[in-house]
């Protein structure tokens, strides 16, 4: 089985789906000959040609707006937004149009498509190449938001997203694009959207995260284990929908929850997780729910290491909650 990086696994998924279904097309800025600024679409222009891997003018609202019109007509577009930080000109198209087409037309029209976008910090990208703004989108009925943490999941989830009947925002943790490799099967396989994964089983506390932060979560789990705290690590894999069943099962077992994301704390997706636990599993809790998140500041350049949740901050929260 090939050992692939996250970038290679996503490229592999795109290639497999484009070979399977001629309606799958890619559009975006620099996705063609150059293969994307992160080389995610590398080689696809050469294999599938300019009618299926399309460079567009530099306008995010146009990329998503046109992709909507293509999807309505029966193509299966996979538009790329170069950095999640640049998606806001298309926010109206995503929130007002893409997510609501099926509903507002009474089910007559739908626009299944997958928006791929690298997100998150830790690459020295400053305030506009680092944001983690998934919560804005997770508040949008009609949309799905998928955030893989590694190569194996990324390929299976992306294939699922492309085959989904509804629009999906597929956020790629760019900090780990080339950070590590995993065994990734050749050809097609799918991982269902909305199912979390227990990355490491444990008994004392549930550590909940997604995307790039899973690396910090796993490191914190190891350090906690060394201190005698058995942490169960839950990788949500998608936040809209999120796997409530897996969440509540784990927290009812451990009685303790720490939630990690690099997005700002206030109204971040951790609030939804926390509220769900409080609403439906409060009787199992032995300690307050704690969130470890980015601070409520814009994303900084020089001090990004201070801003991002670190293993030390996660470990501190684990110890505090475990000893409550």
């Amino acid at each position: 089985m090939p050992s692939l990086t996250l970038v290679q696994a996503i490229n592999d998924a795109l290639r497999a789906e484009m070979r399977r279904d001629k309606n799958v097309v890619i559009l975006g800025e620099d996705v063609g000959k150059v293969g994307g600024v992160f080389r995610v679409t590398d080689g696809l222009y050469e294999e599938f040609g300019a009618d299926r891997v399309m460079d567009t003018p530099l306008a995010e609202a146009g990329i998503i707006g046109a992709a909507i019109g293509m999807a309505l007509y029966g193509l299966k577009p996979v538009p790329e937004i170069q950095f999640l930080d640049f998606i806001y000109p298309a926010y109206d198209q995503i929130v007002s149009e893409l997510a609501k087409f099926r509903y507002r037309s009474g089910g007559q029209y739908s626009c299944p498509l997958v928006i791929r976008s690298p997100y998150g910090g830790g690459i020295k990208g400053g305030g506009y190449h680092s944001q983690s703004s998934e919560a804005y989108f997770a508040h949008t009925p009609g949309l799905k938001v998928v955030i893989p943490s590694g190569p194996y999941d990324a390929k299976g989830l992306l294939i699922s997203a492309i085959r989904d009947d509804d629009p999906v925002l597929f956020l790629e943790p760019k900090r780990v694009y080339r950070a590590f490799r995993e065994e990734v099967p050749e050809g097609e396989y799918v991982i269902p959207i909305g199912k979390a994964k227990i990355s490491v089983p444990g008994d004392d506390l549930t550590l909940i995260g997604y995307g790039a932060m899973m690396q910090e979560c796993l490191a914190a789990q190891k350090e906690a284990a060394a201190k005698g705290i058995s942490v169960e690590v839950l990788d949500l894999r998608s936040i809209l929908p999120f796997d409530k069943e897996a969440l509540l099962n784990s927290v009812s077992k451990t009685g303790r929850a720490v939630i990690v994301h690099e997005a700002p704390k206030t109204s971040g997706f951790g609030a939804e997780i926390s509220a769900t636990i409080a609403e439906e599993a409060v009787e199992y809790l032995r300690a307050p729910i704690v969130r470890v998140a980015g601070f409520d500041t814009p994303f900084p350049y020089t001090l990004e290491g201070e801003y991002m949740p670190s293993v030390a901050r996660i470990l501190e929260a684990i110890e505090r909650v475990a000893s409550f």
Partner: protein
């Protein structure tokens, strides 16, 4: 500005190609029908029987003339005042009315405010209330058709206000670059609610904006149904042959309020309205048909009576329908009902049942 009929209904220029009497009468029936329908709908609104309505009064020639030139396989992305095009393309009148009533006969299940028609059999795509957002969709559909080598064209409607939106720029630019088979049909009715055209743009007109995007812009008298039909026909043929997009500016006037919720006496001079009344598209076309001997008072009276009867019948059917089922609230958010939505539906049901 291209014109065929002068304000008094006499010919200024020859039509090319000529239209048969049957086609002329068909056009006349449609513009008359829309005038009658809008009048009846506004009455329903004033009586409190429907919540909201936006007429196309004064703009019927632009709506009917542009819609008339399209084939069934072509696609339409409408704005607020093009419901008439859906009717021309076979949407039943009861379906039109049911959308306005938002009841169980509405194919959109009562999800949208009145005048937001969407009807798939007519390739008439439901629009949101957001201004200009449909324009990039139209370009995407046209671009997709080009990729698939389907010989269709896409008609994207907009008002003068929409030309200020970013999505207008984005759509025009993409259409030009990709040479997409799309027609941007701007019904310039001079007013975006209370803001006149001079408050939207410093351009000498709207058609000229196309030049900057590398394609043709045409200004046409929007109250002249023959000119609108001819200009649109040319743009449609050009797009179908691979000649790319056209921006058509149909110069017309919003005779009524923006919608049933608006009072234009607060912001515009009645003299301006009176001036435009003299250019009324229906009176003008009627004079022309009279001069050809194709129409007369008796035919007019018979037609109006038929329209009124048809509309009354449809209202009767639609008003009798109950609201959409409560469960339908949760349908069509996604292709299937998500577990979270299923829970919320069950909650609503439980509480509604127990409070009865």
């Amino acid at each position: 500005m291209i014109q065929i009929l002068k304000n008094d209904g006499t010919l200024k220029n020859k039509m090319s190609p000529e239209m048969s009497p049957a086609v002329l009468l068909d056009l006349y029936r449609w513009i008359s029908f829309l005038r009658t329908l809008d009048t009846r709908m506004m009455n329903l609104q004033r009586q409190g029987r429907i919540g909201f309505y936006g007429v196309c009064t004064g703009e019927e020639a632009a709506v009917v003339g542009s819609g008339f030139t399209l084939k069934p396989e072509d696609w339409i992305y409408p704005a607020l005042r093009q419901g008439g095009v859906a009717l021309m393309r076979g949407m039943p009148l009861t379906t039109y009315l049911a959308q306005v009533y938002g009841n169980s006969l509405d194919v959109q299940k009562g999800r949208q405010m009145p005048c937001h028609y969407g009807y798939k059999p007519a390739n008439f795509v439901a629009w949101s209330s957001c201004i200009g957002t449909q324009l990039p969709h139209a370009v995407g559909t046209a671009w997709a058709a080009k990729i698939k080598k389907d010989p269709i064209v896409v008609m994207a409607y907009l008002g003068d206000g929409a030309t200020s939106e970013g999505d207008f720029h984005v759509a025009m630019n993409f259409a030009g670059v990709k040479k997409a088979p799309v027609i941007f049909f701007c019904q310039n009715n001079q007013w975006a609610i209370s803001v006149p055209l001079s408050g939207q743009t410093a351009s000498e007109n709207i058609a000229v904006k196309a030049t900057a995007y590398g394609f043709e812009g045409v200004q046409v008298d929007g109250n002249d149904i023959l000119a609108v039909t001819q200009v649109t026909q040319m743009a449609v043929e050009k797009a179908r042959k691979g000649g790319g997009p056209t921006l058509i500016e149909a110069v017309t006037y919003r005779m009524g309020s923006h919608s049933s919720s608006d009072d234009p006496t607060r912001y515009r001079d009645s003299k301006e309205v009176e001036e435009w009344q003299r250019r009324d598209p229906i009176k003008r076309f009627r004079s022309y048909l009279d001069s050809l001997g194709l129409w007369n008072e008796q035919k007019e009276a018979t037609l109006k009576e038929k329209f009124d009867e048809e509309i009354s019948q449809a209202i009767k059917i639609v008003e009798a329908a109950p609201p959409p089922l409560r469960e339908s609230l949760f349908e069509d958010v996604y292709a299937g009902l998500s577990p979270r939505l299923a829970e919320q539906a069950a909650d609503l049901n439980r509480i509604s049942e127990s409070s009865h």
